[in-house]
Amino acid sequence: MNRITLSGDLERNLRTIMARTYVRIVGAFREPSWLIWDTVLPIINLSAYVYVYKVMNAPPEFTGFVILGGAMIAFWLNVLWDMAAQFYWEKETGNLEPFLIAPISRMAMLMGMAIGGVFNTTIRASGILLAGVFIFHVTFHISDPVAALLAFGLTITSLYSLGMVFASLFLMYGREVWHMSHLFQEPIYFLSGFYFPVKFLPFWLQVLASAIPVTFGLDAIRKILILGAGLQDVSVNIVALAFFSLVLFLMARWALRYMEDMGRREGRLTLRWQ
């Protein structure tokens, strides 16, 4: 019998991450139709918002705001549906039981999904950004690549940690959380300023928006890539994102344990079609 050791645990969880990442990436490319739905068609929807700004003679950087917001929406949707709601699907298709029986960390499994998801979604987001450059002639500044990478990395870390918190809810609940995920689409697009800077919102809405990590992330990335800002200009955003990443990661760890325990007690871990 294998002894349980720290290095053994680490190795097993790293293998879990790799395995889940592999499934996500290879699975996605086995059915390439998503490239059309996820890459080509979203730009059409975004174009409508670009045209509103054009009709109103808004400055060209506002076109860039819409395109960048559309690219970040790809990550937000991936967090909501391919990360958080994935446990729901695993439960429905009967995969959750083997996952829970296996001697692996739930976070390792979710991290694998996240890495695979980030890979797939980066393709989608890149398609949107390239379309923005070639169709709408958006100019992106990469004068401070370190700041851009730091802001993007921290935004992704905080978003996917938040996704893990949401995922924990699916261990206990079903359609209630599914509908909650629906609810986190347009209201978050509005509050977090996916199509316009949040400074245009009333103060109390800005306060509410500051509780959402993507608000800080999007603001920082927008300032760096569209307005040419540097690390110093977005230092507050970076600190806020680092804080969100840490807190949400710890919260996810706690929530996954708590909700799994509650699911076990109430017999909901294997409850399908709830």
């Binding site: 059915e31 998503w34 068609l41 059409i44 929807n45 509103v52 549906w81 509908h179 316009f196 245009f200």
Partner: protein, 279 residues
């Protein structure tokens, strides 16, 4: 199949759709959930207008009404596209009942139309509440007494047939494709109409090739009719749009039936009726 059987299958599909959409929570909570998303969507375009008018050179209240009406009625399109793009995946892979529907004496076509009808009824409630919210709370410049309600009702009925036709095409595609990506297809196709049909900006702002596309989409004429009805235009003035809308709707409906028949055959032929797709 007798007409009575068809009617019963349709009614049951509507009822099932309503149950699936609504019975996960208390009715009041469902009502809140049903209007929060459309209202947030409305706030996005209203803020696009407000931000645009602050940083741009145009500040026309008529354009605000234009944007508000277009976006509010577009809820019907979004919800039906989302629902019809997802219903096959949901029944096939989530509830795993698609194969049972197929072997029951119910036509898949009637079943899908029933599910579309259920979504349309819920979406109509969202439209009504969003309109009232926009006028009463946000002060949108719409005169509720000036609306031409008969032409509005007519345009909604014909428009729903056109939207359901596109929904049937989406469901047909879903019969042949995997679940991942399935959640996006409805939203993505709705985006095409959002851009080309003059929903939140005039079609004249598009390049000429895109204006040509908008001319063959029935929802362009539907949106014109809805907007004219909302602003109290007389029936005689919307006759052209009405005739073109009816013509295009009939064409797309027949195309949708053909596409569904083909997809149905291919799905059976390739053994896709009960596939599950994981990633």
């Amino acid at each position: 199949m007798a007409v009575r059987d068809l009617a019963r299958a349709f009614k049951d599909a509507v009822w099932l759709g309503w149950k699936i959409d609504a019975n996960w929570t208390e009715p009041w909570l469902f009502a809140i959930y049903s209007v929060i998303r459309p209202i947030a969507g409305m706030l996005i375009v209203i803020y696009l207008f407000l931000v645009g008018s602050q940083v741009g050179e145009v500040n026309d209240p008529k354009y605000l009404s234009y944007v508000f009406v277009g976006n509010t009625f577009f809820i019907l399109v979004t919800e039906m596209m989302l629902s019809m793009g997802w219903v096959i995946h949901e029944d096939r892979e989530h509830y795993e009942v698609l194969k049972y529907i197929y072997i029951s004496p119910v036509s898949i076509y009637v079943y899908l139309l029933g599910r579309a009808c259920s979504t349309a009824l819920i979406a109509l409630m969202s439209v009504a509440i969003s309109l009232l919210f926009g006028v009463a709370v946000l002060g949108m410049p719409i005169d509720l007494l000036a609306i031409n309600y008969p032409t509005l009702a007519l345009s909604i009925i014909i428009g729903l047939v056109a939207i359901a036709s596109f929904g049937l095409i989406l469901a047909s595609v879903a019969l042949l494709t995997a679940r991942h990506g399935g959640g996006m297809i409805g939203q993505a196709v709705a985006g095409i109409f959002y851009l080309f049909c003059g929903i939140i900006f005039p079609v004249s702002a598009l390049p000429s090739w895109a204006q040509a596309v908008s001319k063959v989409l029935p929802l362009t004429y539907w949106m014109n009719m809805v907007r004219d009805s909302m602003f109290g235009v007389r029936p005689a003035e919307i006759l052209d749009d009405l005739l073109v809308l009816i013509g295009f709707t009939a064409v797309f409906y027949l195309v949708a039936l053909g596409v569904l028949k083909l997809a149905d055959f291919l799905a059976r032929d390739k053994g896709l009726i009960d596939i599950t797709t994981e990633h």
